[in-house]
Amino acid sequence: MEDALLLALQLLGATIRVATPLVLAAFAGMYCERAGVVDIGLEGKMLAGAFFSAAVASTTLNPWLGLLAGIAAGMALAMVHGFACITHNGNQVVSGMAINILVAGLAPTLAYAWFQQGGQTPLLPNQARLPAVELPGVEALSGVPFLGPVYRELFNGNNVLIWVTLVLVIATQWVLYRTRFGLRLRAVGENPAAVDTAGLSVARLRYQALLVTGVLTGMAGSYLSTGHGAGFVRDMTAGKGYLALAALIFGKWRPGPTLFACLLFAFTDAVQVRLQGVVLPGIGVIPVQFIQMLPYVLTVLLLAGFVGKAIAPKASGIPYVKER
């Protein structure tokens, strides 16, 4: 019984750790898609955030400067995306793809030139990594059944960015539905012409949304390379940006369901690690690859409308051209 509880808690703990970058990226996508800009470039922004965080953290030995660098990289790329598809009405999907390809090449190229370690940054020492938060009273509670292990395994020792993410999730729910900015953001994604008529600048709102996207993707990257991991390695995002996009659709562009979708994807990943090589009664060993592709298959099934129809913000993906 005690073992089962511990296993469940470890699974949940792993789920939270894996989910964090997904949540950050998916919420990043939520801001810009709610404002009517599709961003397939989440992956690239995350990767850039991961690289610049690790590079700066490794040179300065200061993880916070690294975090800032990652955020700056994410914002810079978001502005490139905005310049292409807001200012120049370019194709949003193409711009996002270009950013992904660009960063997939740029990060290892710069890493190779700066650190001469085959396209990765040196392993970060502990002081250059974003710290874990140690909560008080772990020892005192450890004797208490259920509560003690839960407190120790789930809440204690989480990376500081996990807590920040939690705050951001709650803040996003509030910003989107309880503030004027959120109202305008949602409006510009549904009916930009109406927002324009009301005298607000569509371009300005979309740029603002993209700035938030840049910040969140930069943080997601930072978490990967300086929080969860200890250094940048080539392709370390490994499709998480696309998965975040899927989670966003899965979550119907709403904070709560999107959070749930990220946790679900992360849970399948945590389970997959545990299931490797385990013989299931009656089925035998499930090849790892089949478990790995579960989130993608889930997404396709959802898109097929079997789980409920997902309706995107109406103006999403369409450049807004003011009537002349």
Partner: protein, 380 residues
């Protein structure tokens, strides 16, 4: 919906070649200037690096062979993206379709040991088309019947294809006793002849390179693509759906049917990458042999303005980048293959997403010149 309106200027104000030639060249120059900056940042001389890139891609016959071998892949995926584009669809799944196409070609080559190569080649072409098309069919069907967004579903299908292929190569098709995830090598009798061998039959000697007969098939596909789109009823219907779905419905054309047809052809074209790579060069099914060709195809189609001639030229450009860029690392220790992706990404960004970046300035320039010319003739 995803095709942005070109926003044509006043007729006659700006000559047509500006849109087809001048603007793409300007965008390309901008992309190369930025690439040069990146090269500066990593501490090399951009002019030296870029000129070495060009000479390593086009400077001697063997290099040209390699360049055309890469070009072959990009023609296939460029055409694949373009045909979907003509129907108003964005096929990002070229990567997965090409991967599955390679599986189809590989299975034929594995099964038909000892058969004459022309038969195997024909069946492998068919199988790669079939596998690629099948992989494109599901997203197509979902888009046509259930309204699922094809961009997302094709991305997901790339990941699913990667997982399935890894499983097949690790657990099922792996050469017995082998450690690396790949099939056994095909019997040399079924390999698709390389161009130097094929030309050797006619007494023409060229240096050996991976360039093989599938290059000719790629050119043939360009011709077939043009005939299909411009000279057949099917092509007409497909383009109608792409231009205006509602008008197509009123004209009695079924969008759903055409979406599926366009994606089937698209998947088949992407699948042909497998013939070039698996049957022509690798001679075994290996992991990740596609290496991003599906994504480059998007850029090729965009730069080629979805026209076969443009696609050949754009594919050649990316072929040059792939071959020349790959060679740079031998000369420059600080540069590795990824630099090519930087240049590719910048080219896609400028030529694809910011294609109208210089348009206002260039058009203004032409109007001003046209205006002064008109004023002068008026005065005279």
């Amino acid at each position: 919906m995803l095709l942005s309106g070109s926003g044509k200027g006043q007729p006659g104000a700006v000559p047509g070649w500006v849109g087809y030639a001048l603007l793409p060249v300007l965008n390309l120059v901008a992309a190369f200037v930025l690439s040069g900056l990146v090269i500066l940042v990593i501490g090399e001389n951009p002019v030296d690096v870029l000129s070495l890139l060009l000479s390593e891609a086009l400077g001697y016959p063997e290099a040209i062979g390699y360049t055309l071998y890469y070009t072959t892949d990009y023609i296939f995926t460029g055409l694949a993206v373009a045909i979907a584009f003509h129907c108003g669809l964005f096929n990002i799944g070229g990567e997965g379709q090409a991967y599955l196409g390679g599986l189809g070609a590989g299975l034929v080559a594995l099964a038909l040991t000892g058969w004459p190569w022309p038969v195997v080649a024909l069946l492998a072409v068919l199988a790669s088309a079939l596998f690629g098309a099948a992989w494109a069919f599901i997203p197509a069907w979902l888009q046509a019947k259930r309204g699922s967004h094809i961009v997302i579903t094709t991305i997901m299908f790339n990941f699913i294809a990667a997982s399935i292929m890894t499983w097949l190569l690790v657990d099922v098709l792996i050469r017995p006793g082998s450690q690396s995830p790949e099939t056994r090598e095909f019997d040399p009798g079924v390999w698709l002849p390389s161009m130097d061998r094929a030309l050797g039959w006619f007494g023409i000697a060229i240096p050996a390179s991976p360039l093989n007969l599938s290059f000719l098939w790629a050119l043939a596909c360009c011709a077939l693509f043009h005939i299909f789109l411009r000279r057949t009823r099917w092509g007409y219907e497909l383009r109608t759906v792409g231009r205006n779905e509602r008008a197509a419905v009123y004209a009695g054309i079924s969008p759903a049917r055409n979406i599926i047809i366009a994606m089937l052809i698209s998947g088949a074209l992407a699948g042909f990458v497998g013939v070039n790579e698996i049957l022509g060069v690798q001679h075994r099914v290996i992991l990740n042999f596609t290496g991003g060709v599906g994504f480059v195809g998007i850029a090729v189609a965009l730069m080629g303005r979805n026209h076969p001639v443009g696609i050949i030229l754009a594919a050649l450009l990316f072929g040059v980048l792939a071959q020349g860029g790959g060679q740079l690392s031998f000369e420059y220790p600080t540069i590795n293959r990824e630099l090519v992706m930087v240049i590719q990404g910048l080219v896609i960004l400028f030529a694809g997403a910011m294609e109208n970046l210089f348009k206002p300035q260039v058009e203004a320039l032409f109007r001003r010149r046209g205006g002064t010319a008109a004023a002068e003739t008026g005065r005279g």
